[in-house]
Symmetry: C2
Subunit: 212 residues, 2 copies
DNA sequence: GATAAAACGTGGTCTGACCACTATGATTGT
DNA sequence: ACAATCATAGTGGTCAGACCACGTTTTATC
């Protein structure tokens, strides 16, 4: 018996989908509460356990947060703990690591391209000022740099790749502080050639992947 | 009554953890079968529903695969759904058309970089041969090109961005067929400057975003 | 009015029951 | 002996109902 399982067999996946639509339709934002498990179960005509499977999966993904006694909320996603999992799980093959390192670098260079062409002088000024304080490490530096770039999609992609890279223990060697500062200054002056040279020769030197 | 909840309240998270250890300890590899839900439930002394919540979460992450009537298997980590999911959830409403087009181009250029440095001559030959047939459009051409590049992460990212770009009706203007063919030939000869020139001036000309 | 107690709502977990599907082994037919 | 068939057991998929633990809200009490 049962039941015309439309397309996505597996109820919990349908619930994920419905949830996604619901969030979009109702314009829910991070922090907002979503209906209770029992209500979802009723509204979607599925068992509560199926709803829970969907919610638990989304929770592990860091997309929602549940607080016992209170409810389930959309999460402002960041630091999903799943990532450490992935790292220790099945991420330990060198090919993946190489791809991660390579991709991360490419995204950083892409970001530099965009910044050179599109970033406002003010944002570049303030970034340079921030860099001159010297209060950063490789990771936080590029995190900040990616923020300066106006392409939010690129920023998000870098963030994800970076997270994965961390999980896989792919970390770049910390370069000389001055190199990072010089990069910021070169960016501010929109010196394309110099910027790229600093990145390649002084910051990402000696890394397995060479570009250009 | 419960419960000495060691550290990670939430049983399903403990199950995830236990599973991870089990996989590591037993040296299980992609394709291998993991114990059945009922057996796990018994071995870990937790309810089957908790086991299922853990498994469903890992499944949505793309770490395992379940086949009804057969069992649950470790999956090759290649096709992780993470980026996809994050995208469908939070990347939707933003007006990212520009970002999409821009990012897509950047990824294509990144791919070209990698190909110039890493692709085998044979794969470049066969790609050029394929291109000379002229049986493609802009999209399928770059889809094929991304396949030539050995960085599977990059390929996947492009594929996703491309999918979204389509959905957002961000499509590049089809260029002259000859331009695509010439690009393939330049790639085969590993002519970096020429390759990039063709891409920028003959294929992606007139697109909103200009790079370099 | 302030405080304490009870009621309610919510997530967390378990159990037991079916269903649907697959693989395996026994049965049967030739 | 071999092949096709069927029965069975094992597996994931789903549901319903029952508690528990915790937070919020309402109510009763002082």
């Amino acid at each position: 018996m049962t039941e015309v399982n439309g397309s996505t067999s597996k109820i919990y996946l349908e619930v994920v989908e419905k949830l996604r639509n619901m969030i979009e339709k109702d314009g829910l934002n991070p922090g907002d509460k979503i209906p209770s498990e029992r209500e979802l179960s009723e509204r979607l005509s599925v068992g509560r356990s199926s709803v829970r499977e969907a919610l638990r999966a989304l929770e592990l993904l860091g997309l929602i947060e549940t607080r016992r006694g209170e409810g389930t909320f959309i999460k402002d996603f960041q630091e999903h703990k799943l990532v450490e999992l992935l790292g220790t799980f099945f991420l330990q093959n060198t090919k993946v690591k190489k791809d991660l390192a390579e991709t991360k670098q490419l995204l950083e260079l892409d970001c530099i391209q965009i910044i050179l062409l599109q970033a406002s002088s003010e944002s570049l000024d303030s970034f340079a000022k921030w860099a001159e304080q010297g209060n950063f490490d490789d990771q936080s530096y590029f995190g900040k740099l990616l923020e300066v770039n106006p392409n939010k999609l690129l920023e998000r992609m870098w963030s994800i790749v970076n997270t994965y890279a961390q999980a896989a223990q792919v970390e770049f060697i910390q370069a000389d502080l001055q190199a990072y500062i010089d990069l910021a200054l070169a960016l501010r002056q929109r010196q394309k050639a110099q910027t790229e040279q600093i990145y390649r020769e002084r910051i990402r030197q000696g890394v397995s992947i060479k570009l250009t």
